[in-house]
Symmetry: C2
Subunit: 224 residues, 2 copies
DNA sequence: TTCGTGAGTAGAACAGTGTTCGTGTCCGAC
DNA sequence: GTCGGACACGAACACTGTTCTACTCACGAA
């Protein structure tokens, strides 16, 4: 050990006075998922890169691959943790439909709180344990409502697909300029788009999540 | 001009005997979209790269940006051309539902023929002229069926979202190992997933596009 | 106490990606 | 015939996910 190297060590130790407490806590899957989720919440799904997560943890991207197989694997973990936040109600045969709508609403809100993450939900494998928990819970609601299992399974499939698609779309149009949209529709040639032009305002109607709940009711009211 | 350079020119001219006819035809938006679509059809949406498209056209990626604003712009053009392939039926009040199902089926097939392109459809701006043509056509069918315009508009929105989500999902699971899936479901703890385990086969049922048509009927049968 | 040993960490690099800059080149209109 | 402007494109930039390869360092065995 030369004098120089001991000097460097000395400097490192001094620098470690600040960074040590951050460096010391080991990298775990939990910390990775946590910072990733926070990153998505703050800057959207496109900002979620291995480098950004690693940097937020004070390290390089290579360190993450000891705990996570892939970026795709990380995505699955994210939607898993999101799914774990969903509370499944005790089935009540008299208002099972409202309970289903509530669960879907929870999912929607979880997804919208983390803009763009629904894209990961569409790509996630259907065998994920946490999403299966939701499927189980929804299935129980349908069974309580007296719906045949096969019908219930297919309806649940459609519902979850719709929730994902809805959240994907509505999280990338951040508060659409409805006026702008109406103006554009107004510019269309009436002979080619008679209905669209005439009912432009109806096409763009729907406050908050009206369209969302409408679609859910559409699928549920035909059952039982 | 040295002798050498004229030699090079000579060599270039000889080489041009083959590449000239390919080089001569100018790059147009149509040729870009065509080769891009063919690329997606052959190798999937992930293989759609500016570089790949440019290479297939015998040039570099920079050349594309004279005709296309973005990759996102190219994606929009692609789903535009796909939408233009949809044939809209003349509304028949007696079987308007079947007509709607048919149009959605055309869309589904177009998307599945180009695996993964549905992801672009979800991100496409709703003001696209070609998709508005489809909206107009569907709206006409609903109006012929006596459905209120606002209800029709919202239902169409839900339908198109579902079609996109369905095709996204079913184009990335290339012929799922249903046996594998059933085996995994069988390994689940019965106390936590009683319904899923018991009805595993029902959960994975559905041949061809049965689930697809079921979901469409689900949304349509509640109307009118 | 000393010595591995193996898991966890991380720097550097690779093959890709979308996109832009500046230079070139060639065709058509004056 | 000459000029101008649209088009084409090589090179480069800032990114991305991922892997290779060293390297540290705490823990248990001899």
């Amino acid at each position: 050990m030369t004098r120089n190297s001991s000097r460097e060590e000395w400097a490192d130790q001094i620098a470690a006075l600040d960074s040590a407490p951050a460096r010391k806590e080991p990298i775990t899957v939990g910390r990775i998922v946590g910072t990733a989720l926070e990153l998505v919440r703050a800057e959207g799904f496109d900002a979620l890169t291995m480098r950004r997560v690693a940097a937020a943890l004070g390290t390089g991207p290579a360190s993450l691959y000891a705990h996570v197989r892939n970026k795709a694997d990380l995505d699955d973990l994210l939607i898993g943790t999101l799914s774990r936040n969903i509370t499944l109600p005790e089935p009540d045969a008299r208002e099972w439909r409202a309970q289903v709508v509530d669960v879907c609403g929870q999912l929607r809100d979880q997804f919208l709180r983390h803009p763009g993450i629904a894209r990961a939900a569409l790509n996630a494998p259907p065998a994920n344990l946490d999403t299966l928990r939701i499927t189980e819970g929804l299935l129980a609601l349908f069974v309580a409502g007296g719906v045949a299992v096969r019908t219930a399974a297919w309806t649940i499939d459609a519902l979850l697909l719709y929730v994902s698609a809805y959240t994907v779309e509505s999280s990338l149009r951040g508060s659409v300029d409805r006026d702008e949209m109406l103006a554009r529709l107004g510019m269309l040639p009436v002979n080619r788009f008679p209905l669209v032009v005439e009912h432009a305002s109806e096409l763009n109607s729907g406050e908050g999540h009206e369209r969302f709940e409408f679609a859910l009711r559409l699928m549920l009211d035909g059952l039982g």
